[in-house]
């Protein structure tokens, strides 16, 4: 027995086994199941385990699918750009402008405060704020900025993106801040000694060195936005759709195979997107 344990190869395998089993049962198996179900047939209240392409045929045959996927990408792209801009700025401020570590930690914790409530609450609290008779409109009206309430503030793409940015910016701040803290300050000194100005340092030193953090944040935000359905439902007043809503509608109507087919296509799309993103930056350096 002892001899066996001394065998490096064997103990290596044994140590890896628990995690492998957990992943196999809770990640790989469910995904396989989803793929299998996506080829089944469904009637209104039963699922028939018979092979069919019907679900995929319907999915790819409907112009709505393309529209909805396009919409999903649109939300992801806009949210990504906004969260990156805000997240980078906040992280930059925290990492390079706040001098003491105590303040850095304090301000960083301040950023996380909204996360102490559920994200549904954070999202829904926008509704009375943005409504036709909401605080935003009444304030603008009383300042004389507008004559009529702005309709597009609520139940619109604007509202959806606003909620996404609000919900997910922290997922950008954290990894970017983390990478920035690891940048060797002497590099910045060296750049300054070599005559670079602030903008040049930012562009040629800090941004390239922060790329892995930005990439991790990007993966978080893109995956979260592409998989979301509840934000889109509430903030658009059910009037816009992304892929998540297609899936949730199918599930509500008991059409699990169709939902599974959509989920498979979404999974592949997200994997593909992340695969492409990873071609640009090697995040392994970061981990």
């Amino acid at each position: 027995m002892e001899n066996l344990l001394r065998n490096k190869a064997l103990s290596g395998w044994l140590l890896a086994t628990p995690l492998t089993l957990v992943l196999a049962f809770f990640l790989v198996l469910p995904i396989i199941l989803i793929v299998v179900v996506s080829f089944w047939q469904a009637t209104e209240f039963s699922i028939i385990p018979a092979f069919t392409w019907e679900n995929y045929e319907f999915l790819f045959g409907s112009p709505v699918t393309y529209k909805v996927f396009l919409n999903t990408f649109k939300y992801a792209a806009i949210t990504w750009a906004m969260t990156l801009l805000i997240g980078f700025t906040v992280a930059y401020f925290l990492a390079f402008h706040v001098r003491t570590q105590t303040w850095q930690i304090a301000l960083f914790l301040l950023c996380t405060i909204p996360f102490w409530t559920s994200n549904i609450i954070r999202m829904i609290s926008w509704i009375p704020f943005l409504g036709r008779n909401g605080i935003a409109n009444s304030a603008l009206l009383s300042w004389g900025v507008i004559d009529e309430p702005l309709e597009w503030l609520l139940f619109s793409d604007f509202a959806v993106v606003l909620a996404f940015v609000h919900l997910y910016t922290l997922f950008m701040v954290v990894p970017i801040f983390n990478t920035m803290m690891r940048i060797d300050r002497s590099l910045i000194e060296a750049a300054r000694d070599a005559g670079a100005n602030g903008a040049q340092i930012l562009w040629n030193v800090i941004i390239p060195l922060t790329k892995p953090g930005m990439m991790i944040g990007t993966i978080f935000v893109v995956a979260l936005v592409m998989g979301d359905f509840i934000t889109v439902r509430f903030m658009s007043g059910s009037q816009s759709a992304n892929v998540g809503r297609l899936i949730s509608n199918d599930i509500a109507l008991l059409n699990y195979p169709s939902a599974a087919a959509t989920a498979v296509v979404l999974l592949l799309t997200v994997l593909l997107t992340i695969g492409i993103l990873l071609r640009f930056v090697d995040i392994r350096k970061e981990l």
Partner: protein, 419 residues
Amino acid sequence: MTKINRRNLLKGGAAFAAGSTLGAPMIWAQNIKDVTLRQFGTGVSNLNEVAQKVKEDLGFNLEMTALDSDSVTQRAATQPNSFDIADIEYWICKKVWPTGNLQAMDTSKIKNYDKIVGIFRNGKLTPDSEIAQGTAPHTVGFTSGPDGKDFVQEESGWMTLIPTIYNADTLGIRPDLIGRPIKNWSELLNPEFKGKASILDISSIGIMDMAMVVESMGEYTYPDKGNMTREEIDMTIGIFTEAKKNGQFRAFWKSFDESVNLMASGEVVIQSMWSPAITAVKSKGIECVYQPLEEGYRSWGGGIGLSAALTGLERDAAYEYINWYLDGWVGGFLMRQGYYSAVPETSKTYMSENEWGYWFEGKPATDVITSPFGDPLAQAGDVRDGGSFYDRMGSVACWNSVMDENMYMNRKWNEFIAS
């Protein structure tokens, strides 16, 4: 140590399973107070007050779970062991009954069966009423026998659901923000209300509201709104997609609370709505009318079904519960919120003369009308929107329904929401 192999493990497991299922009813038999019935259904009648009163009057526990219509259907169809009593609508019954997850109920055990209104027995409110389109409750209310999976059109003595609650739905409006009379369903798509209209995002009900609007606009007359052909579905949803693209709708709603908020906040001034939602808006002191329309109402009915798995003492408790349900207290409770009870006459004893006059007979209130929760809903002199029970239930144009082309309709509905 005993060797653990697969065979021993299975034996042990089987013994354990047998012990836990067989042993349980004996424990229950000792005391009915330990019986717990799990009821689930849409929010309308899943009220904690009912569960409390059951505990007081009958002694056993009733656990209530409220879900939206889609989830209710899903659960009734796919998780038969997760409930004892299903509080569902008749159109849901049409979908769920063939799965065999519910059991037929013996009408001879229902004390007030003879007093149940005609709508749920032969389909006729009064002997000369016409039966409306759609899934009329009596068409899916009876089955052939204790093990029937089919529906029969006569009073067979075996009911699929015991009717409990029903109402006639129409559009809700904010008269203070509209400022003129509304008489037709077609007003929902009137450009005057651009960006201020809403419709509910529950396909099987929404499509019926759409059909009422399309007919009212004079675009098309359906042979049967409750069972459209593919072409009719395309045409109906096409008209609404066009309106959506033109910005007619402010939002769609899926849950009761959403509809209340949309109306109360003034985001929407005309929309499909449910009766208690109107009540909820009114109780905030905001003017809101459940507008009777010339084309008639879209009606719905709900009832209680028993899980096929329910047996023995628990089933007896469930029958006792059903009899209690039809005995009047719940009926009065529901009628004071604007619904109707399946056995109105028993509810009368639990309502004041003023309440009965206002809610059922359509008479002007002689005093303040309050909801069961104490909120004032109407002042002396007010008349219920739509009038009496016979006026309202007598002008039902269609019942909530499930179509033969339901799958197709759902897909089209999905496209409507996504477009």
